[in-house]
Symmetry: C2
Subunit: 325 residues, 2 copies
């Protein structure tokens, strides 16, 4: 226990070795480390929560790493401390499609005021997300005041990242067709800010067209907040254009949401939802590990799929077996 207190003190002092060690502990899958990780997080919690948490997504090729490097360097240049985390459930299989290779953000990774952490490995999105949420708290306790959580533009991971950040930024490509990808996947609905990247040179007119099409699409969607109209901005991460305006917009968002009370309310809801999701995962785990449930489950599932048992009867049968345990 004394070592956990020491480790926590090291993290709070901004010691980079303590930070790495703490994150390794939080990311550990070993059940032996679970109590130590909980104790550490409880120690660090009072020092966490002061950062702005920014989620960033976009399809492969949209220029996410170039953009994050440009934004990160802009922020460290203005005295901020920036942590870049990633949620990529495919990282275990592919060796990491994002952030696996630090050379992708070479300059930022050498910046003493930036910290870049690749996606934790994990068999499920839920497992990866849990570790990233906890790593976020560790980074905040270590004094990083801007947390960027990057994710890939596929499937459910954007929804998951949106549920752990204050603001979700969607990067889009210029050009007709592409700019509608967001709608198809239901991702545009969760964006608080949309950036059309690569809006440079010949791309400029196509970027302007994409901007107006996206604005039309946003117009027919239910707004997430009555106090915030989702802006669509153009930028060129490669040329460093639009980065200052992006940060200005993020600060406007934070101010607006803080004034309306939505900022704090969103964090409260996120924490409560997260607790319930962990609880339900834990309950399901208890249930599935019950040997009598495990023995009965396959045949009951087959009976439901074949239509020889009602789902209600199947659920009651399994719950009876579990309760008798």
């Amino acid at each position: 226990m004394i070592r956990i207190k020491e480790l926590a003190a090291g993290v709070r002092a901004g010691n980079i070795r303590s930070l790495a060690k703490a994150i390794t502990l939080v990311e550990s899958r070993s059940p032996d480390h679970s109590l130590a990780a909980t104790t550490l997080l409880d120690e660090l919690l009072p020092a966490a929560g002061n950062a702005i948490r920014i989620g960033i997504s976009g399809v492969p090729g949209v220029g996410k790493s170039t953009f994050i490097e440009a934004l990160g360097l802009y922020l460290t240049g203005r005295g901020h401390r920036v942590a870049v985390l990633a949620v990529d459930p495919s990282s275990q299989l592919s060796g990491g499609s994002i952030l696996g290779d630090k050379t992708r953000m070479e300059e930022l990774s050498r910046d003493p005021n930036a910290f870049i952490r690749p996606s934790p490995s994990g068999d499920t999105l839920g497992g990866v997300a849990r570790k990233t949420r906890e790593t976020m708290l560790v980074c905040e306790a270590a004094g990083y005041n801007v947390i960027i959580v990057e994710t890939v533009g596929v499937g459910q991971s954007e929804i998951t990242v949106a549920s752990m950040v204050d603001l979700f930024v969607l990067l889009q490509l210029p050009g007709a067709g592409d700019e509608l990808q967001g709608i198809k996947k239901g991702v545009m609905e969760i964006a608080d800010l949309i950036l059309i990247n690569k809006a440079e040179g010949d791309n400029r007119p196509r970027a302007e067209l994409a901007k107006s099409q996206i604005e039309t699409a946003l117009h027919i969607m239910q707004p997430k907040s009555s106090s915030w109209q989702v802006p669509v901005l153009l930028c060129s991460a490669l040329k460093g254009e639009g980065i200052a305006e992006t940060w200005q917009t993020i600060e406007d968002y934070r101010r607006t949401m803080e004034q309306s009370g939505e900022f704090a309310e969103k964090r409260r809801l996120q924490a409560s939802d997260w607790m319930w999701s962990l609880l339900m995962d834990g309950l399901k785990d208890l249930f599935m590990r019950d040997p009598r449930v495990a023995a009965l489950l396959p045949q009951v599932q087959d009976a439901v799929a074949n239509g020889t048992s009602t789902p209600g009867a199947a659920a009651r049968r399994l719950l009876e077996v579990f309760k008798r345990h």
Copy 2:
């Protein structure tokens, strides 16, 4: 037990008093009736499953009951037996905003080949939906081969109804603006067929406009099935126009989905999801009823909301208490 077998035989014989008694048993909230209801459903299950299950929704004023009456009478006139159920979680408070009053479908309710059942009362959408799913099976066993599940155009109830039917029909009003309501609520994404009702007289040009706007909106959405393009049809339930075409389209849908295997696959997934949802509800219920959990939960929830405990630590603490039980 012998009485359950008798009741089941009465239902299968199409006896209307047995049907009403069986539905009352299935809808009962009394824990004493739970085993009898399960036994009854298991008895009826082999005779169920042969109907086409149609969900119907639309905002108040769109003409849902006029449409259902017109479609129902058209179908009984062609030898079908039609059951109309409802999912309306507000019915307990309001006394039923839909189907509470059978005079809304006066002619259909007097038709011997039609059966109309108002929404079961229930404190939660989940509770109402569970009863409606089970009532659907009872009606199928009683020989109704078209099941229509009506719901109100508010909130989550459409998503819930879509998860229990083979085909989800969205009724829309003619005219600009109104026709986009579906998109705003994320309901258009779950529709398999969209009908613009009241497309009569002066409304006709506005209905045509709505049709083309909806088709454009559908075009940018992810299709639910690669073998089915969601049709947008005009109808006038009041004048009985477009009813035959609607039924023709529903039959086309069924044939297409059966040929691609999606019809059976969707039902298997719905049954499995339903079982898991009942299981998780049951597990949560067991957890919440644990006296030690109940004693600890309020303070833990407050600590998470106030940021004095991490969600992870809170969940682990509650699960430990539950496990020790």
